[in-house]
């Protein structure tokens, strides 16, 4: 009987090992993005924009044209590219420090312009690369290296719900929150990423998928404990769902 290949590396992923910590969920999301690019048949017409943070080396893993942007500025870089080459599919991939803190202005205005780009937003409630500092999405009472007694709203305010905040704007085409905490959620996440890319291809404006993710290393947990912590603590505060659908 002829050999049938039932699983392989997506074409839009390079053949290298990632630098991510054991149990980190970035690898899953990278793969989903690459699978979607393959399935849409747009590898040679897709451009990614890497952030500053753990995913800064995204360009080593996603096998398409790539930019590496300054901290928080990926939506501006994507805007510049897309305005000159509307024929290309342009996406950014950003963490919570990059997108919701230093890049808050860029993401709000790209969304408000209905910029026809796709944003993959990894929310793991912490700064990963720099060693576990407080993020704008860090949960109340969650301990980090810069809120060692737990996040106190009197000092640091409340965790920002980015998907809901951007969904108040008129222009965005598609906004959803998903997670990769369990295989059933992973399937939903891939569907959301595909919808987001399709929104852009159809010219329906800004699309964003917020992916609730883990950071076992900086949360100080085993990978399985981290997934459980995400489900029990993050999902209640950051509800999953679609907040905006294309017309």
């Amino acid at each position: 009987m002829a050999e049938v290949k039932i699983f392989e590396r997506p074409k839009s992923m390079t053949d290298v090992s990632t630098h991510y910590c054991p149990g980190c969920t970035h690898g899953i999301v990278h793969r989903l993005v690459a699978e979607v690019i393959d399935e849409l048949g747009i590898q040679e017409k897709t451009v990614g924009v890497a952030p500053v943070g753990c995913a800064v080396l995204l360009y080593n893993y996603i096998n398409t044209d790539m930019y590496e942007a300054a901290h928080g500025r990926a939506p501006a870089v994507a805007t510049g590219c897309k305005r000159v080459r509307p024929d290309l599919t342009v996406f950014t991939y950003q963490g919570d420090g990059d997108l919701a803190s230093i890049g808050a202005a860029e993401i709000v205005h790209a969304a408000n312009r209905g910029e026809n780009i796709t944003v993959i937003f990894i929310n793991n409630a912490i700064y990963g690369m720099t060693g576990g500092q407080m993020a704008p999405t860090t949960l109340l009472k969650q301990r980090t290296t810069t809120c060692p007694f737990g996040r106190d709203p009197k000092a640091n305010g409340y965790p920002i719900r980015v998907a809901e905040m951007l969904a108040t704007l008129e222009a965005p085409g598609y906004i959803a929150r998903v997670t990769v905490a369990r295989p059933k959620y992973v399937i939903k996440t891939k569907e959301a990423i595909k919808k987001a890319f399709q929104t852009q291809i159809d010219g329906k404006g800004f699309s964003l998928v917020e992916v609730l993710s883990t950071c076992p290393t900086n949360w100080g947990m085993r990978p399985t404990e981290a997934l459980k912590w995400l489900e029990e603590n993050m999902i209640p505060y950051y509800p999953l769902g679609e907040f905006k659908l294309p017309n």
């Binding site: 040679e44 590496e68 300054a70 590219c81 080459r85 290309l88 860029e106």
Partner: protein, 353 residues
């Protein structure tokens, strides 16, 4: 029949860019350069281009990073505080070797300063501005006519060297009106085809493009820096530009650029009419700086007078050029004040004794 048109500086800068084939502009309002984005917002749609008002100078320069990565001609303009905000992005653009043109219509600083003309961003333009070992090719036009020609040339230079080029103008040049003839300026340089390196040609090239400045391996980063430095050495050999007037028989040589040089020319004419021998060296490229004419001053020159609309910035490069052979003095006005013809005349007379 003459093809000259009467235009405001800022609008002429914008039109020159359009005529050089620039179709993409990302800007943010700041005085005294607002007529550039305003002009572009109505002009670029006529040529099938894009004008986009960014949410900030920070976003604007990063839009340029994205747009320049496609290999198409891009322009951004601002004034002093806005250029400070862009400086991080300019460092990234230089590091990633992207071509673009940046116009700084300088106003008085530091801080929010004022909105009137100044030349106090010389250090920022020529010695860094942003972080790291990078250089901006910096051109300082003296008239609006020259500005339009430099802007057209700047796009060729940016593409040839794959480096950002800054046009350092001042508020006078942005706001004044003058008769201009738009000439086609084209450098006879062998400019590489953007398809060899830019975003968006993966299929044609058979290889993806990677536009980045991160380099975590120190040996690789050192090599990248050495490559950039070689490029800067080539610029220093090939792109030095200056105007020299009446230096041969001069007792005093005035060093000034931009609008200040224009005022100094009137002072020099008055001084010459009174029999005093005063010449002018007007740097047109600030980086690379024309050190040689200052190093090769004729034996008769007894004194150099640097005149700037700043508290003394270019004077440091003039001194490097003169190398202590003759005294170098300074006359400057700042904060939006300009030296008058008479003030420069007086300053030169003091040196003539």
């Amino acid at each position: 029949m003459s093809n000259r048109v009467l235009m405001k500086g800022n609008e002429a800068f914008a039109e020159a860019a359009v005529q050089a084939g620039c179709k993409y502009f990302f800007g943010y309002p700041i005085t005294p350069q607002n007529e550039i984005p305003e002009y572009m917002s109505k002009r670029l749609p006529e040529v099938g281009g894009v004008y986009l008002q960014a949410e900030s100078e920070v976003a604007g320069i990063n839009m340029i990073f994205g747009a320049a990565g496609t290999g198409f001609r891009t322009l951004i303009s601002s004034s002093s505080p806005g250029i400070s905000l862009m400086s991080e992005g300019i460092s990234y653009i230089a590091a990633a070797e992207l071509p673009c043109v940046i116009i700084n219509v300088m106003r008085g600083g530091p801080g929010l300063g004022g909105i009137l003309p100044a030349q106090s961003d010389y250090f920022q333009a020529t010695k860094g501005g942003g972080h790291g070992d990078y250089r901006l090719l910096t051109l300082a036009p003296g008239t609006l006519q020259e500005a339009t020609e430099f802007i057209m040339m700047a796009f060729d230079l940016a593409e040839y060297y794959r480096n950002p080029v800054m046009i350092l103008a001042d508020g006078f040049m942005g706001q004044m009106m003058e008769a201009i003839e738009f000439k086609k300026v084209k450098l006879n340089y062998d400019i590489p085809d953007p398809k060899e390196w830019a975003i968006g040609y993966m299929a044609e090239r058979g290889k993806r493009a990677l536009i980045k400045s991160l380099s975590l391996d120190p040996e690789m980063l050192e090599k990248h820096n050495q490559k950039l430095q070689e490029k800067y050495r080539r610029m220093e050999e090939k792109e030095v530009r200056y105007e020299s007037v009446g230096v041969e028989d001069a007792d005093v040589v005035i060093a000034a650029y931009g609008t200040t040089a224009r005022i100094a020319k009137s002072s020099i004419k008055k001084l010459r009419d009174q029999g005093m021998k005063v010449g002018l060296i007007r740097p047109q490229s600030l980086y690379p700086f024309p050190y040689k004419p200052f190093n090769d001053l004729p034996d008769g020159v007894k004194h150099v007078l640097v005149v700037e609309m700043s508290c003394g910035q270019m004077i440091e490069d003039v001194k490097l050029g003169v190398q202590g052979k003759v005294p170098v003095s300074f006359y400057g006005r700042c904060g939006g004040m300009a030296p008058s013809v008479e003030e420069i005349e007086e300053a030169a007379k003091k040196l003539l004794g």
